[in-house]
Structures are given as C-alpha cells and as structure tokens.
C-alpha cells in the first residue's frame, strides 16, 4: 500500500514539477516576447477582440507620445484620425487574417498627425477563436512627404512642360503666319519686279546675279537661265556692255551712264547702286536699266527745232544789221546826231538778239552731241592773247582794269579753236560785265603736270551761295546778275562748261557774293 502511495506521491510530485517547468517556460516566453517587442524598431500594438488596446511597445510609445499606461484599456480608434476606417480594418482582418500596408493617420498625444502604414493580423487561441489583433504601425510620413514633394515637382514640371508646349505651338503658329505673310510679300514683290518698266538685275554679296526681271531680259536680249549666278563682268561680256564688264573701275556709290545703243532706236541709261538691308549695309548691287530712247528723240527734235528756228531768225536779223550798218555809216545820206544815236542803240539791241540766237544754236549743237568739230593742235597762249586784245576795249568802256598775267611759253592743246575761244571769251566777258567800274579783272595762264591752268578773277558782284550749284545750268542767271545787267542769255557758262569738258578739261569757280568770282579751267597739254 505504501508503495502505491509512494508511487502516487511520486506521480503528483512529477506533475507539479512539470507544471512548474511549464510555468517557468511560459514566463520566460513572455519575458522574451516583451524584450523582443521592446527592442523591435517597429511600432506594435496588441488589441483585444473588442478593439481595446492591451499592449503597445516602446516604439509605439515614442511614435504616439502616449505611455502604455495612458493607452492601455483605451479603444484603438482613439489613436487614429478616422475612427471608422480603423474599425473597418479590424473587422476586415478578422475575416481575412491579415491586412497589409493600409495608409492611415495617427494622432499623437500632442495632436500631431502622422501618416502611417498599418498592417493587421488576427490572434487566435487554440480553439481557433479570435483572441485579439496585432497591429504593426510604420511611420511613412517622411516617404509620404517625399512622395508629395515629388508629385508636386512632377506636377510643376508637367505644368512647365505644358506651358512650353503651348509656347512652342504659338511660335509655330506665328512662324506659319509669318511664312504666309512672307510668301505674300514675295509674290507682291515679284509682281512689281515683273511689271517694272525698268530693267532690274540684282547681284548678291557673292557678286553673282540672283534676280533679273523680264524687262532686263528684253533689253539685254538674254534669258535668266543664261545669266543666273554670273558676275557683272561675265554678263558685261555676254551682252557687250563695256560699262558692266569694267565695273571694277567704278568707285562711285551710285554710277549712272548712258549706254551705247544695243539696237537701233534703243538707248538705255544704266544705274549701278549698292543696296543693303537696315542691319546689313550695302551687300547687294542693283543694276537699273532705264529706257531713255523717247527722251532722246524728244531732245533731238527739240534741238532740231532750235536749230531751224535760230537759222530762220538770223535772216531778218542780218537784214536789219546790214541796213542799220549802211545807214549809220552815212551811206544812205547824212544823219542828225539824234538819228544816229537812235540807230546805234537799235543796232546794239539787234546785236544782242544775234548773240542770243548764236547761243541758242550752240546749245542746240551741244545737245545734239555734234558741237566740237575736228580738234587740232592749238597754242592756247597765243589764242588767249588774241581773245584778250579786243576785250581791252570793252574793259576800258566799263572803266575796269584788265590785267593779264600770261606765260611766255606756248601751251599747245588739242582743241576746236573756235569753240575754245568762245568758252574763254565768255568767261572773261562775264567777269567784265559783272564787275563795277574801277574794279579789276585778272586773267592768268600757268601750267602744272601737263595741264594748263587758266583763271579769270574779278572783283565783281559774286554769285549768291544758294545759287552756286545752278550756275552752269541752261538759262540760269544769278538774281544779282539779272539786277545788274538785263542783257545776258544765261547760256554762256553752260556753253563754256560743255566746251571745256568736251576738251577733257575741268571747270569750276570760287565766289563770294559782293567780293568777286574766280573761274578756273584746266586742259591737258599735248606739247
């Protein structure tokens, strides 16, 4: 019996030991779990099946600001911004065991809202009844902030891109509109060029032709295909226009020249002009061909008219001249002093008329281009002395001192003697006409570098500054000249200039109104 009791006691002791061991094991397990949960860098919360907080770990205490003591026994939804959402989450997890990474907002003790990711797992006892929930809570506010920032950045960038796209589209639209406008402008320009009455050739900065209008093709008897991309010189060669072929010699900005007729009746005036855009000065060259045939014909007709008219006018004048001359010389009976005086005045008037007609005839011939006739070697020094001799009488009548400072050497020039004498006489007589009594007129002849230099200087009325540019023009007389001397055709200087220039000379003047004038000319010496 005792043995049995002993055995029984042993059995009880054994069971007690076992129980103690189990209790120890359980305690150890709990302690282990606590330590582990404390250490785990993840916020963990232990919740009862009714949603009451049973335990929180250290990490969650730190995250939420609440101590275990403060939250234990509180309902979980208290910790979150949207209570309903956490309730749903718990319900859902009880059906599905685990729910991972749900985004919620945790409210800390001090009221701060933290975006967190919540995962829920259900706890079950050995009979598989719900015994509670485990929640892991991760602070994702930093990621969230980054994400939001990134999103914002993307949004901004997208907006920028959108704006850029719109801007580009606008630019494209504008460009298209500009292109259409340019096309329109180009067409307009082309119409103008094609219908222009003048011939136009345009050379680019590379000196090659890039545009020619139909009129120029017609004038030059060439086609665009023949001359496109050719230089002015090459086109000069093709068309035989020497002014174009020798274009390199032209230094002037604007060059204007009458071309040798290309065909019977066609006379062209060519203008070569450098042109440029406002910001690209003078890169292109424009050649304008203007048809002046009609002007020339009119000019010629006018000239012929003057010639015939002048010729017809001379006949009665010569009759008057001869008749007066006979009467004045007393060949038709003696005259009273009064009669003689009247006849002499009439004669002077007639002479004036003759001079005017002679001038008109000379102008007509100048304009016909057949004025200078058969130039030959002439000693201008000798010619000048012959011219001055009779003028001394005129100077004496006008009480003007005429001085001549001439060289002794011959100065041989090639000249139409009669015309050169006319030009020189015009200049010297002008000096005397437009100088007051007691004034002086000086004639000088020198030479330099194979050029003779002539001048006639007076102390006369001078040429008003504002009229100086017109003084060599046809029929032009200075205001003060008209006041002083009603006689005068306004043709003398025009004729003189044409004569000197036809002899390859230069003519110019210096003048101060009220002080006097000096006219100069040069002529090339041949010996």
């Amino acid at each position: 019996m005792s043995i049995i009791r002993i055995k029984k006691d042993d059995k009880i002791r054994g069971e007690k030991k076992k129980l103690k061991r189990n209790k120890d094991n359980s305690r150890e397990g709990n302690s282990y779990m606590r330590d582990f949960l404390t250490f785990l860098p993840l916020s963990i919360c232990d919740v009862s099946p009714t949603g009451m907080i049973e335990n929180v770990n250290k990490e969650l205490e730190e995250l939420s600001g609440f101590t275990l003591a403060e939250v234990a026994g509180e309902y979980l939804p208290k910790l979150f911004l949207r209570a309903q959402k956490i309730k749903e989450l718990l319900e859902k997890s009880s059906e599905e065991d685990t729910i991972k990474n749900q985004e919620l907002t945790l409210i800390t003790k001090i009221g701060k809202e933290i975006t967190v990711s919540v995962s829920v797992a259900t706890r079950k006892d050995s009979d598989n009844n719900l015994s509670g929930y485990f929640l892991s809570i991760t602070d994702i506010s930093a990621q969230k902030a980054i994400q939001q920032q990134t999103e914002k950045k993307i949004k901004t960038r997208t907006k920028d891109l959108e704006e850029s796209r719109r801007a580009v589209l606008n630019i494209l639209e504008d460009t298209e509109a500009a292109k259409v406008e340019i096309e329109k402008e180009k067409t307009r320009t082309q119409i103008v060029l094609n219908n222009f009455l003048d011939g136009l050739l345009i050379f680019g900065s590379d000196k090659k032709l890039w545009s020619i209008n139909p009129r120029a093709e017609e004038f030059l008897k060439i086609t665009m295909e023949e001359v496109l991309d050719k230089t002015m010189e090459e086109i000069g060669e093709i068309t035989g226009i020497k002014e174009l072929a020798n274009v390199k010699k032209i230094k002037k900005k604007v060059f204007r020249e009458e071309l040798v007729p290309q065909e019977k009746g066609l006379i062209l005036e060519m203008t070569i002009q450098k042109v440029g855009l406002p910001n690209k000065p003078e890169t292109d060259t424009l050649v304008i061909l203007h048809d002046i045939s009609r002007e020339k014909v009119i000019e010629q007709l006018k000239s012929q008219f003057v010639s015939v008219a002048a010729h017809q006018l001379r006949t009665p004048l010569s009759i008057i001249k001869w008749s007066l001359s006979m009467m004045i010389q007393g060949e038709l009976g003696s005259l009273t002093d009064e009669q003689k005086e009247i006849l002499e005045k009439t004669n002077q008037t007639n002479e004036r008329m003759i001079r005017l007609i002679n001038d008109l005839l000379n102008v007509a011939r100048i304009e016909e281009g057949r004025f200078i006739y058969r130039p030959q070697a002439v000693d201008f020094n000798e010619l000048l002395q012959d011219i001055i001799k009779p003028i001394h009488q005129l100077a004496d009548e006008k009480k003007i001192k005429l001085k001549a400072s001439l060289t002794k050497e011959p100065k041989v020039v090639r000249a139409d003697t009669e015309k050169l004498a006319l030009a020189t006489k015009n200049l010297i007589e002008n000096a005397i006409y437009y100088t007051e009594p007691k004034g002086s007129v000086t004639v000088s002849l020198t030479s330099k570098d194979n050029q003779l230099e002539f001048f006639v200087k007076d102390t006369g009325i001078g040429i008003p500054k504002d009229q100086q540019s017109r003084i060599f023009g046809k029929f032009f007389r200075g205001d003060n000249a008209v006041r002083k001397e009603t006689e005068g055709t306004g043709l003398g200087l025009f004729i003189a200039k044409n004569i000197i220039e036809a002899h390859k000379g230069k003519i110019w003047f210096e003048s101060v109104e009220g002080k006097g004038t000096t006219f100069f000319f040069t002529l090339p010496i041949i010996g």
Binding site: H311, R314, T315, S318, I319, S325, E331, I354, R374
Partner: protein
C-alpha cells in the same frame, strides 16, 4: 575792164545792199535771185567772183556748187558763201566743193564783206 561779181541771193534787200556797195567801188555787179537763174548767169557772164547764198528757192547753193563742179568752164571761179547757217559740217562740205570763204551774215556787215571780196580777187580793176 572792171571785174565782174555775181551775187546769188534771194533776199532782195541784202542783194541790193551788196550790189550798191560793190558797184560803188567799181566792180561790175550782176545779180540772181535763185540757184537756177544763178547757174545760167554764171555760164553767161563767167564772173571773176561769185557771192552765193545757200538756202534759196528752186535751186539751193549746194546744188549749184555741185553743178559748177561738173562744168569745167566755170569750175575755177572763186566763190564766197554768204549764209545764215554756218555749221562746221556745212563749211567742210562747201570747202570740198571748192568754196574759198564763208561768211555768216549776222557776223559781218557789208563793209567787212567788201574786205573779203577785195582779199579774194583784189580791187575792181
């Protein structure tokens, strides 16, 4: 015997003026009012000098000069042109047709014409 001068000129006033002037100093003066009459007179009279206008009715001065060149009997007679024209080309043409001198009427008076005549053929006798 006085030297004979033929004046061919359509302007009667000038013609008469010249005639009286030249007659005065002793020349024997004949006149014609156009080229046709002038040419006939030249052949008939055979003058020592001809004063010839250029622009005249029926036959002008140049035509007359050409006809004179064709006729050996009158070819050598000296001629002075008296004209209102005086373009160098005309003067050149006239010289080729044997003209000795050229006077533009408005540039000379009768006295100077006489001087030219005397210079050409000497005085009247």
């Amino acid at each position: 015997m006085a030297k004979k001068i033929l004046i061919i000129e359509d302007e009667e006033i000038l013609l008469n003026l010249l005639k009286s002037k030249l007659s005065e100093i002793g020349y024997e003066v004949f006149t014609a009012l156009d080229g046709v009459a002038g040419l006939e007179a030249i052949k008939e009279i055979v003058p020592d000098l001809i004063l010839l206008d250029l622009i005249m009715p029926r036959m002008g001065g140049f035509e007359l000069l050409e006809k004179r060149q064709e006729d050996e009997s009158i070819k050598g007679i000296p001629i002075i042109i008296i004209s209102n024209s005086g373009q160098p080309v005309e003067i050149e043409k006239a010289r080729k047709l044997g003209v000795s001198d050229w006077l533009i009427k408005t540039e000379f008076d009768p006295k100077e014409v006489i001087e030219k005549v005397v210079a050409q053929i000497g005085d009247s006798s």
